[in-house]
């Protein structure tokens, strides 16, 4: 359960491999890259122009044979100033190009990942913690974007700067260049080691942040419990401990970061000192001039800066690559239930017109290979327009039933067909989603509502309806009174997840949503929560209207639902063990009679160890 999508992909994949995989998925990003690189190269030439002019001014201006040549100084400075300004413009252009292409690419990546999550089967969506799926399309992509805006540009310019500085240094003096490079070799090795350490310490920081979040949540969500049991001090101690651990992790990480940073500084000083000593000796041998040597000192700072930047950016880069990998892993996860209209267009079919029946042929389902089958060897046919209640203990497999009929999952054995004897039967796996979703509708247990108006939520079942049509639908369901009692009628906002409405009222809206979708086959997963009596009555009436004339499969948790159905299917341990109208089954010896008796008991006030009633 913890593994989910991310664990399956290769953990060992290197950063470069991730980047290559990512670039393949983001053609928008690749397209403008050569021009951006050209601008980056141009940008770095601006940086070497200052050291060059220092050298020119000292050697040829001040050190000119006939005394200082101020005209030459003026020319050099003016030319350099022009180059500096042109460079600035080039950098600006490069930045904007880079931001635009990366943001466009990332926005598209975000949208694709979002869509892909919806395409994954229920199994995947449940296996992955929902919060972590959300972070695939939010914080993981954000991290990439932040990195591109800070580190990406810096990194690009740094690489260019490193190259250009090296070339210019080599032109001035290959001996000194070699010297500088030798000084930096140990640094390059050290930075690699530090990078691994950084990944570890920042990983710890992230874990600790999560612990703090969880501990803080206890003081808020658990407020009544904390007070009722007088455990304030104990809870405070737990939170403080989490905060202290987080603090220590932060300080540890800071130590490593600081060490990485100063190692660059130290190597730069070593290089400078070495350049002075060797440079003077070389100068004495007549190999270089004073101006060249001074310019070289400037060039060393240009050479150091990118190395330091790299150590700064490294941690961000690791995070960004890790986030990138997580997003790509989602995109690389093949949905196991695919729309045939997309996957195998030549096999995709429409459902036959008219009422739909359901047929199971040797259907079996396991949630994981080797697990106990949730359903096994189920063979049955439900005729069109029948209202069937599926009952059974928790874990009997009745919910699996609903998921298979709506193709939220595919059976691991056998097949499910929809249709009728008159119109023909179509295997569910061949039905194009457009046809399936318009004809088969499920009302889930928790009729999720969006943070919008009642009308918006109903329209979700049939886009494009007017408010009047929505009101009319409520009217037909016998819910006019309820709608009129709302502060703003159908325009009343329902709040986040519909929380401004009661659980029962949310179900009313969910029923209306299914009603306007006008399906031929309805699958109802009945809610288990208690609903106040007035709403309960409305719900019952609305459900009667909704199910009238439609094939209906209800996963029943209530006695009354089973009693009203045309037929009851009793599921036990993955098998359909009984089938028939309530009236027949209740008198027959068997699981249904037992289930029924237990229902009766819990509602009639006869708890089992008798004698407790006053």
């Amino acid at each position: 359960m913890t593994g989910g999508l991310s664990a399956t992909a290769a953990r060992t994949e290197g950063s470069l491999a991730t980047l290559r995989r990512g670039l393949r998925m983001m053609p928008e990003f690749r397209r403008g890259l050569p021009a951006t690189f050209a601008l980056a190269l141009l940008a770095t030439t601006g940086r070497v122009v200052v050291p060059i002019s220092v050298q020119q001014v000292i050697d040829r201006g001040l050190g000119a044979p006939g005394g200082p040549d101020l005209d030459l100084v003026r020319t050099v400075v003016l030319l350099s100033a022009v180059v500096v300004v042109v460079t600035a413009v080039a950098v600006y252009r490069m930045n904007v190009r880079l931001f635009r292409t990366t943001e466009t690419a990332l926005a598209n990546l975000r949208v694709r990942a979002f869509r892909h999550v919806h395409d994954l089967s229920m199994l995947h969506q449940q296996g992955e913690r929902r919060g972590s799926l959300v972070s695939r399309v939010t914080s993981d992509v954000d991290q990439l974007s932040v990195f591109m805006q800070w580190g990406g540009v810096l990194g690009l310019v740094s690489v260019g700067q490193l190259l250009v500085a090296t070339v210019v240094m080599a032109v001035y003096s290959w001996q000194l260049t070699l010297l500088v490079l030798v000084c930096f070799v140990p640094l390059a090795i050290a930075v690699r080691a530090f990078a691994r350490r950084l990944v570890v310490v920042y990983g710890v920081v992230r874990t600790r942040v999560g612990d703090v979040l969880a501990a803080v949540a206890e003081s808020v969500v658990g407020a009544p419990t904390v007070r009722a049991y007088g455990v304030r001090a104990r809870t405070a101690a737990r939170i403080d401990a989490a905060i202290a651990r987080h603090y220590r992790a932060q300080v540890d990480a800071q130590k490593v970061t600081a060490a990485v940073f100063v190692s660059g500084e130290f190597v730069a000083a070593l290089a400078n000192a070495a350049v002075v000593v060797v440079g003077v000796l070389l100068g004495l041998a007549g190999d270089i001039t004073a101006g060249t040597l001074v310019a070289f000192l400037f060039l060393v700072t240009l050479f150091v800066a990118p190395v330091q930047t790299a150590s700064e950016v490294l941690n961000e880069a690791q995070n960004a690559v890790a986030g990138f990998r997580r997003v790509l892993d989602v995109l690389d996860t093949e949905p196991d239930v695919r729309d045939p209209a997309v996957a195998t267009p030549d096999r995709a079919r429409q459902l036959p017109d008219g009422p739909l029946g359901v047929r199971f042929e040797h259907v079996a389902f396991r949630y994981a290979p080797g697990a106990r089958p949730a359903l096994d060897g189920v063979d049955l046919t439900i005729e069109p327009r029948r209202r069937v209640a599926v009952v059974g203990e928790t874990g009997s497999g009745k919910t699996t039933f609903a998921k298979l009929v709506t193709r939220l999952m595919d059976p691991t054995g056998g097949r499910v067909l929809l249709g009728s004897d008159a119109g023909g039967w179509v295997p569910l796996t061949d039905v194009a989603f457009a046809s399936l979703r318009s004809r088969v509708v499920m009302v889930p247990q928790d009729g999720f509502l969006f943070d919008a108006s009642v009308a918006e939520n109903v329209r979700y079942g049939r886009p494009g309806m007017t408010d009047d049509e929505v009101a009319a639908a409520f009217d037909e369901l016998g819910l006019r009174g309820w709608v009129e009692g709302l502060p703003a009628g159908v325009a009343t906002p329902v709040g986040q997840r519909g929380e401004s409405l009661s659980a029962g009222e949310r179900q009313l809206v969910a029923v209306a949503r299914a009603y306007v979708a006008d399906p031929h086959l309805l699958v109802l997963d009945e809610a288990t929560s208690a609903v106040d009596p007035a709403t309960e009555q409305r719900l019952t009436r609305a459900l009667d209207t909704l199910t009238a004339g439609r094939t209906t499969l209800t996963i029943a948790h209530r006695l009354s639902t089973a009693e009203r159905a045309d037929e009851v299917l009793v599921v036990d341990a993955g098998h359909v063990v009984q089938r028939g109208p309530h009236a027949e089954l209740v008198d027959a010896e068997g699981p249904y009679a037992r289930l029924h008796a237990s229902w009766r008991r819990s509602s009639a006030g006869e708890p089992e160890p008798a004698g407790l009633t006053p």
């Binding site: 101020l70 975000r110 229920m122 007088g230 104990r234 003077v280 509708v441 979700y460 208690a530 289930l595």
Partner: protein, 591 residues
């Protein structure tokens, strides 16, 4: 607008002052280290100049050098660098520690308030808001502290540089006096242009995240209604807006970065131009020219640190403004001096003309509720949705205080009891069971003095022993955040065991048995009431099986206790009661 800006600057400075006052030691250390860094940065430029003047140029001019001169030059460069490194290390560590300490301290204070403030305060604040107050708001309030000493050190550096420039050559100083303020002003303009754009991007990020949350939560609805395309389109609109917002941010930064780079470069060139003339005039020498030019290339970064602090201040203030109300909130639950009677057996509970209204609510939730629960009796509180049952349950264990009247435990007003007395006498189990991210054992004992036998006994009573013994580590199994690894029914049973293990004198169950079998429920009550000195039980109930366990029923309607009697009496006498009980019976859920 500009006055508002002034206000932000003034408040920002005050906020900086607050940070310094909270952590004076760390700030001083970080500032000293930053100043050392600043001074050494200037010194490194000076050393380069001196080396040029005294070692490089003479050697090149004369064609000879001495080993001692070269060694001295190398040592000077490395010595200054080492001091600079000490400065950097100190600055980073102390500034980091200062910022992290502030974060930790304010998190402790905020959560301390969460634990101290009464439940009525909690009810007025959305959970999400409280969580972000303690987390992201605290973080953003002190984020600017990390570069703060660096920025202060930069000020020191600018001061040293200005003095050094004036002493070296007043004319060259003019260049510095133009470039430094320019860099500074550019930074301020930048932060002011940037902060609204950053806020907008942040806002859009939140919206994108909200849609993703909602849409994935609605996964089943989206899938079964075939609305993936519609949802994707809805998400894409916001994602594109976010893209545009981020590009707008990038545009400003994309302009600012090269400007910040070009300004010191142009300064260096100006120094060369003017300096060459001065050298020609003999007013200064080449070494000084080099050191001033070198300085300009080194100063750009520290000056930007000032910009970082300034740019982050609006966000810091916004975060701090959200945290302040929590820190300043008052309304601690006052406790009295009395001890509870402490006699063994059930407590006698009495409500005297109790009224309760939520703050700001137009209508009271409860009015003039008066009834007694004699010691050892079990009373069910029944009523339609919104009749005030849960509020009543909370009043009995002093989760909230009544606005009128009094709740008495063994004849003593709950408000007169010492802290910890009520929770020592009474146990409360809420509708939705709350578990801590801890072991099964600790969730039952909550640190109380109960041995494993007590815990297992309580688990048995709550019918939780079966699943707990099947858990991989038994009592030591961690239940995850809010008990995430358990089912709703299992969580509820652990919460019941937590109440049972205390052998409370008063047990209040607020619809706390909805997910357990009626037989288990009966067993729990039986265990508590079975002794010679039975526990007093008040139970908010819906199902008949639960109601049937009570000696008496109090019928609540619109916040008033309208009727009281046995179940059968009320069935016969109160039409509303009869209707409600029958309706639930119809809608009953199997256990």
């Amino acid at each position: 607008m500009s006055r508002r800006r002034d206000a932000v600057v003034r408040r920002g400075l005050r906020h900086i002052g607050r940070a310094v006052r909270e952590q004076p030691g760390m700030f001083t250390l970080a500032l000293l280290a930053s100043s050392l860094y600043g001074a050494m940065t200037v010194a490194s430029a000076w050393v380069i100049g001196e080396v040029t003047d005294r070692v490089l140029l003479p050697s090149f001019d004369d064609g000879v050098t001495t080993a001692s001169a070269l060694t001295l030059a190398a040592l000077a460069i490395i010595g200054v660098a080492v001091l600079k490194i000490v400065g950097i290390l100190g600055r980073r560590l102390f500034a980091g520690v200062m910022s992290y300490r502030l974060q930790a301290e304010y998190r402790r204070r905020v959560t301390g308030q969460y634990l101290r403030l009464p439940l009525s305060w909690h009810q007025r604040h959305p959970t999400g808001q409280l969580l972000s107050n303690a987390n992201s708001d605290v973080e953003s309030a002190w984020f600017f502290v990390a570069p703060l000493p660096f920025a202060c050190g930069a000020l020191v550096m600018i001061a040293i540089t200005s003095v050094a420039l004036v002493l070296t050559d007043p004319l060259l100083a003019v260049v510095g006096l133009v470039v430094f303020p320019l860099v500074f002003v550019a930074n301020i303009v930048y932060s002011q242009v940037m902060s609204p754009r950053m806020q907008r991007a942040q806002q859009l990020r939140a919206e994108v995240s909200e849609i993703a949350h909602e849409s994935f939560d609605a996964g089943l609805v989206v899938k079964t209604l075939g609305r993936e395309d519609g949802e994707t389109a809805r998400f894409a609109v916001r994602a594109d807006e976010l893209r545009d917002g981020l590009v707008a941010v990038g545009r400003v930064r994309g302009l600012f970065d090269p400007m910040m780079e070009a300004l010191p470069n142009l300064g260096t060139l100006a120094v060369l131009l003017i300096g060459a003339g001065r050298v020609a005039d003999g007013a200064t020498d080449a070494g000084e020219l080099v050191s001033v030019a070198y300085l300009f290339t080194l100063l750009a970064l520290p000056i930007r640190a000032i910009g970082w602090v300034l740019a982050d201040l609006p966000r810091a203030l916004a975060g701090f403004d959200r945290v302040t109300p929590v820190l300043e909130a008052t309304g601690e639950t006052p406790h009295g001096p009395d001890a509870a009677a402490g006699t063994p057996g059930g407590a006698a509970v009495a409500l005297r003309d109790v009224g309760f209204a939520f703050e700001g609510a137009e209508q009271a939730t409860l009015h003039g509720v008066t009834f007694d629960v004699p010691a050892g009796r079990t009373v069910a509180v029944v009523g339609p949705t919104g009749s005030g049952k849960s509020t009543l349950a909370g009043l009995l264990v002093r989760l909230v205080d009544p606005t009128d009247g009094a709740v008495l435990l063994d004849g003593v007003d709950l408000r007169r009891l010492r802290e910890g007395e009520v929770s020592g006498q009474a146990a409360f189990v809420a509708q939705s069971a709350f578990l801590f991210d801890d072991t099964v054992r600790d969730n039952v004992t909550l640190g109380g003095p109960y041995g494993d036998d007590d815990v297992w006994a309580a688990l048995r009573v709550a019918a939780a022993d079966g699943f707990v013994s099947a858990l991989p580590d038994g009592l030591d199994t961690r239940v995850g955040e809010r008990g995430a690894s358990l089912s709703g029914g299992q969580r509820q049973r652990l919460a019941l065991a937590r109440a049972v293990v205390r052998r409370p004198r008063l047990l209040v169950l607020d619809d706390a048995t909805s997910a357990v079998d009626p037989a288990v429920e009966a067993r729990i009550l039986d265990a508590l009431r079975g002794s010679d000195t039975p526990t007093t039980v008040v139970v908010v109930a819906y199902r008949q099986a639960t109601i049937a366990l009570a000696d008496e029923v109090v019928w609540l309607e619109d916040g008033r206790a309208v009727a009281r009697g046995t179940h059968d009496e009320l069935l016969a006498r109160v039409p509303g009661y009869a209707a409600l009980v029958r309706a639930y019976q119809q809608a009953e859920v199997p256990a």
